[in-house]
């Protein structure tokens, strides 16, 4: 039996890398945005980061990412500040040890496909608020989960299911997000 230690440097480094890349680019790079960005990185860009997401009324979520974030904060690679605004939440920014931790995960982060995926992720999704990312990641989860069950959903089906899960969004908002994801070919196949 092979025994290994396997410290997941690549996961820790990814958090620091995203904090660095999103600084000044994302309106509020907080815990929710981190969850949804990593979900999109795995599902849309097919980069296996080692996380296992489940769906809740608040969209795809994995507690492992919060656990990793705590450790990364403890290393000094990120700082987490509560945000005093109407929307609340947190803001994650790079810490003094970010570069050192990113270096520890450089084998992963410097792979061509990973680097390109992270760049595209931040370019395409970095401008969104947590609420918008939660909607988009939920749409993708709905499409992927149904596909796994052998059901090919139409855009109308997706709007209907997402509306039930996230009733605060209007049908028009959900449809716009579906069309946007479809046009970028992030939502394939759709019936």
């Amino acid at each position: 039996m092979k025994v290994s230690l396997d410290i997941p440097w690549q996961r820790y480094a990814l958090i620091a890398e995203l904090a660095q890349r999103c600084e000044g680019k994302c309106p509020q790079f907080g815990k929710t945005v981190l969850q949804k960005m990593v979900y999109l990185l795995q599902e849309v860009f097919h980069i296996d980061c080692g996380y296992d997401f489940d769906i809740y009324a608040y969209g795809p979520f994995t507690p492992q990412l919060l656990q990793d974030l705590d450790l990364v904060e403890h290393t000094g690679a990120v700082k987490i500040h509560p945000v005093a605004s109407m929307t609340g939440g947190y803001e994650i920014s790079p810490g003094g040890q970010a570069a050192a931790l990113i270096q520890k995960g450089s084998d992963f982060l410097n792979k061509g496909e990973v680097k390109k995926a992270i760049e595209t992720l931040v370019d395409e999704f970095g401008r969104f608020w947590a609420k918008d990312l939660e909607l988009r990641s939920t749409i993708i989860f709905v499409q992927r989960d149904s596909q796994k069950q052998g059901k090919l959903l139409s855009a109308d089906d997706i709007v209907e299911i997402v509306k039930q899960i996230k009733p605060k969004f209007t049908n028009a908002e959900i449809r716009d997000a579906v069309e946007e994801l479809k046009s970028k070919k992030y939502l394939e196949p759709v019936a």
């Binding site: 608040y58 919060l66 609340g88 989960d145 299911i161």
Partner: protein, 442 residues
Amino acid sequence: MGKTYEIRDPIHGFIELNEWERDIVNHPVFQRLRRIRQLGLTDMVYPGAMHTRFEHSLGVMHVATKMFDQIVKRRQDFLETELSFTAGGLERDRVLVRLSCLLHDAGHAPFSHAAEGLMDKDPTTNKSYKHENYSAAAVAFLMQDVIENHPLNQNYKITAQEIADFLNGRVALGRVLLWRSLVSSQLDADRADYLLRDSHHIGVAYGRYDLNRLLVTLTIALDPETESPVLAIEDGGVHAAEALILARYFMFTQVYFQHTRRAYDHHSVQAIKHLLMEAQRGGDLANKEAFPSPTSRENMEQYLKWDDWRVLGMIHRGLASEHGDILLNRQHHRRVFETPEVPNTSDLEFAEQVFAGLDDLVSFVDKAESSWYKFESADIPILLRPGQGDEELTKLSRLSTVVSGLKAVSRTRVYVAIENKEEALERVRVLRQQKEQKEAQA
């Protein structure tokens, strides 16, 4: 309404069942839970830990019902106007929640979470199935008749597949997905029950907290950041919420991730792995070193034949390899190194040096993240000024310095066989000395 039955419970007093639920409890799939211990071989450390998934499953149904009733009682208007629930729909949801919670652990492997690592891989995700997937499959493949054809289901028409979807967290649930937080979230009935139950049976006070206070302050609100509905606690329950978080922290560090208990998890998994290989050799199972996939009725019938009694009998007969012998003689492998609970980069680098230095002596590595029971720092939403027209949702960690100071436990441990313990400890001592010398020079 029909006849009701009460079962005496050491934590909640009496747990009430209707005739439909009693029939489900009497089904062989549910009765098997009497033969699955809640905490595996934890009794090797805490001798009182002999309770089973059977009583826990009843407890989760009971607590989830109280949570559901409390939320509906306090927030029915909110549920109907803001989230589009209806009174009739809520009545049906209550039944679905009760049955799903009752059956949430129906697919546990022998020794509960310990053997979860032996579950087969899902080819669609390339990740191992989880016990929830086995629970869902047990319901969908084997309990359809008792669920769907009971007279008390005439008005609801609840299907076995719906319960399976609830347990698997499928998007087909739509708005009902909200209630999944009652069985899987920071405020779920599952941990609400097991913290109290495990504490009671083990004889520790670490897991105790004020469940009644939590229940009367439980509510639902919209997260201002995303406008998603979330379970929350009203501000009057802040200290009860703190106690819940502390109970989770203490139970994790003192019980679930206790170093000797984790060694017995390792040995029981290795023993079962050997038994699975032997069964494969005998033509009983389709997969080597893994339980059958939860993908067919036949597989689930095979899988559910595995319970603690069967495994313990095989261990007792000397059929479970050297790990079975270790269990019989309490000669478990010993922890010779561990990182701090929340390690920094230097701690992790030192762990890598120790691992390399111990080399062939290492028998296994254990990580907090690979334990099913985790202590992660997920927050509890707190609703300030409920019902006063200026409600505000915040996070417990913003109100509590106790909670904000707690970080997720990410400890890693290295174990060696008992005969290698002294040599391993000496190697670790030398490595630590070298590290300290280097640090002093720097």
